[in-house]
């Protein structure tokens, strides 16, 4: 079984703003192994979010190849997959955490966590797993609370629980602590470490250098290009 999880070959994403062309990421080439914990650092506009969006297949590159290696030894070229297959890929393999949490205020913490399960009819998850996941992130006492009854840190923990409920292989977190204080940021990064120790590949885009340093590999981006890959091969 290969160690690799993703291979990116010359991934470029060009956005058009009027007549102007902006490169979100520019010729990214790298490999990501299974079980890695990676921080993506860089100034605003460096391409961190675009990079995560490419990995999570919610955006597609203008050029380049993105390859995914599932456990069965196959090699899947995600850049050539149809949209419905990409949806399935995300359902099965990707968990997203956003800076703004994006929780549904009309649902309880448990219901928010259960949301991805509504769409994953094929994947079996044991009954009560969402509660288990919430307990895992330390919110066993907040199961029936709605987002507005939770603190920012708790909301982000619900979002992390939501990203875990489908038991994905990769967790992609885009500025997960941007709206949190230091204490809560610490809690979230502790969670990422815990998840990584359980075998999940974690890729976090962040501005917080101190927290980013907790990852074993740090990729620095600038103007859409990798300027440094600390800990990478």
């Amino acid at each position: 079984m290969t160690k690799e999880l993703f291979t990116l070959e010359g991934i470029t994403r060009i956005y058009k703003r009027g007549n102007e062309e902006i490169k979100g990421v520019d010729g990214l080439t790298l490999k990501i192994d299974k079980g890695e914990y990676i921080s993506i650092l860089g100034p605003s506009g460096a391409g961190k979010t675009t990079f995560l969006n490419m990995l999570g297949c919610i955006d597609s590159p203008t050029s380049g190849k993105l390859i995914f290696y599932p456990d069965n030894g196959e090699m899947i070229e995600l850049t050539r997959m149809k949209e419905n297959k990409l949806d399935e890929f995300r359902r099965e393999n990707i968990g997203f955490v956003f800076a703004d949490f994006f929780l549904l205020h009309s649902l309880t913490a448990t219901e928010n966590v259960e949301l991805p399960l509504i769409f994953s009819s094929g994947k079996k998850v044991e009954d009560g797993y969402s509660k288990k996941v919430l307990e895992m992130v330390g919110l066993g006492h907040r199961l029936t609370h709605k987002p507005l009854q939770l603190s920012g840190g708790e909301m982000q923990r619900v979002a992390v629980a939501r990203s875990m409920v489908n038991q994905p292989k990769v967790l992609l977190a885009d500025e997960p602590t941007a709206n949190l204080d230091t204490g809560n940021s610490e809690v979230i990064f502790n969670l990422f470490e815990e998840l990584n120790s359980m075998g999940m590949t974690v890729v976090v885009a962040t501005h917080a250098e101190e927290l980013a340093k907790r990852a074993r590999r740090i990729i620095f981006l600038q103007d859409g290009k990798i300027v440094e890959d600390k800990g990478g091969k």
């Binding site: 955006d59 419905n84 219901e111 991805p116």
Partner: protein, 387 residues
């Protein structure tokens, strides 16, 4: 959490907006259900009432035959008369089984807000009213009177033998029988011997109509052809009367149905607008759902189910309101209609219920297509970036 529960919770996010949309559809469904129930009930009531008449043809004085016939059926003062001798001519027609002359008139008592209908008849009419159950007996002499069930209730007469005085005509009758309720207009009438009626209203040897039963219903056209030759009278068959009444109802139904369809289209557009607005408001959220692995088909289904659930709730509510308000609708319709059967004119029919529910589901499905399509076309990254 189930998909349907999620859809329901989405609807509850903006309760007022959802409620107003639900109400607008529900009102249309209420009117549709009431109209269909009325048409069904009216047809059923009329068929039953005309079936209980026991005759297929009526001869009425010259004038508007339908007005006279409807007066004869619903009760009232028939202003025209024809000569009793016409009866002899009718009896000569071999296909006629029974010919029953009648004299109908009314005494209006404005101070008591009531109109008493007097129906003069002979034993031939009794032959036609075989289904009558009389407490007491048939006319014993010219001063006999049989009260319809409702009339007896109003007069507080529950036993035969009591006297009944008509002060306007200074005439006294003895109640020989009380009619058990029949569910027809007969319940409100005062039945007296034909001659007594003719005398009381000063129309000796004159009648307001003759009811005719034909030996074989297939012979009705032949009999009608012969009856049409009689002087001073017009012939109307019960099926013609029924047809005319149903035509009137059908015309009104078409008009109301057109208005309902316009109302439903407006409601459907309202539902479409509500769901579309909620899709726009949830653009970012849809993007997040897509990021979590929801496919286009999931987003489409979700929005479609939301519209459908909203339409279904509206349908159930609309039908519920219609069922609760059935009594009121019945009262209004009976007041407006020139000839309404005595029984219920609004009939609850499971088919009507299914038609209305089916219709509202169709409205939901159609109204939901565009917002669902719009939502499903959203690209995850663009949706997430939406401000």
């Amino acid at each position: 959490m189930k998909f349907i529960l999620f859809a329901l919770k989405n609807l509850l996010r903006n309760k007022i907006r959802t409620l107003l949309t639900v109400l607008s559809i529900a009102v249309s469904v209420t009117v549709l259900f009431s109209l269909l129930s009325f048409t069904k009930g009216y047809e059923k009531g009329m068929t039953s009432e005309l079936g209980k008449m026991g005759y297929q043809i009526m001869i009425v004085p010259r004038g508007c035959p339908y007005e006279a016939a409807s007066l004869a059926l619903s009760g009232g003062k028939i202003p025209n008369y024809f000569d009793y001798s016409v009866l002899e001519e009718v009896k000569k027609i071999p296909e006629v089984e029974i010919a029953a002359p009648f004299f109908m008139s009314a005494i209006i008592r404005p101070d008591e807000d009531r109109t008493d209908i007097y129906f003069g008849m002979d034993e031939n009419m009794f032959q036609m009213k075989k289904y009558w159950n009389i407490k007491g007996s048939y006319f014993k002499d010219e001063n006999s009177l049989i009260m319809g069930g409702d009339a007896a209730y109003i007069e507080q007469t529950d036993e035969p033998g009591q006297k009944f005085y008509v002060r306007e005509k200074d005439r006294e009758f003895v109640v020989t029988g009380i009619l058990e309720r029949t569910g027809t207009k007969d319940d409100g009438f005062f039945f007296i011997p034909l001659k007594a009626a003719q005398e009381m209203f000063g129309q000796k040897d004159r009648v307001t109509g003759i009811a005719i039963r034909v030996k074989d219903p297939t012979l009705i056209p032949t009999v009608v052809e012969q009856l049409e030759k009689l002087p001073d009278s017009q012939v109307i068959t019960m099926s013609q009367l029924m047809g005319t009444m149903m035509n009137l109802v059908a015309q009104a139904k078409t008009l109301i149905l057109s208005i309902i369809i316009i109302a439903i289209i407006i409601s459907a557009l309202g539902a479409l607008n509500t769901v579309l607005m909620s899709v726009f408001e949830r653009t970012k959220e849809i993007g997040v759902m897509r990021a979590m692995g929801a496919g286009r088909e999931h987003v489409f289904q979700l929005v479609w189910v939301e519209t459908l659930v909203m339409a279904l709730i509206s349908g159930i509510l609309g039908i519920g309101i219609a069922l609760i308000g059935m009594g009121l609708v019945e009262k209004i319709i009976k007041k407006l209609l020139p000839l309404a059967p005595q029984g219920s004119v609004v009939s609850f029919d499971p088919n009507t219920l299914l038609i209305c529910l089916g219709f509202v589901i169709l409205v939901g499905l159609v109204a939901g297509i565009y917002p669902a399509y719009r939502a499903s076309k959203l690209k995850p990254i663009e949706a997430i970036r939406t401000e």
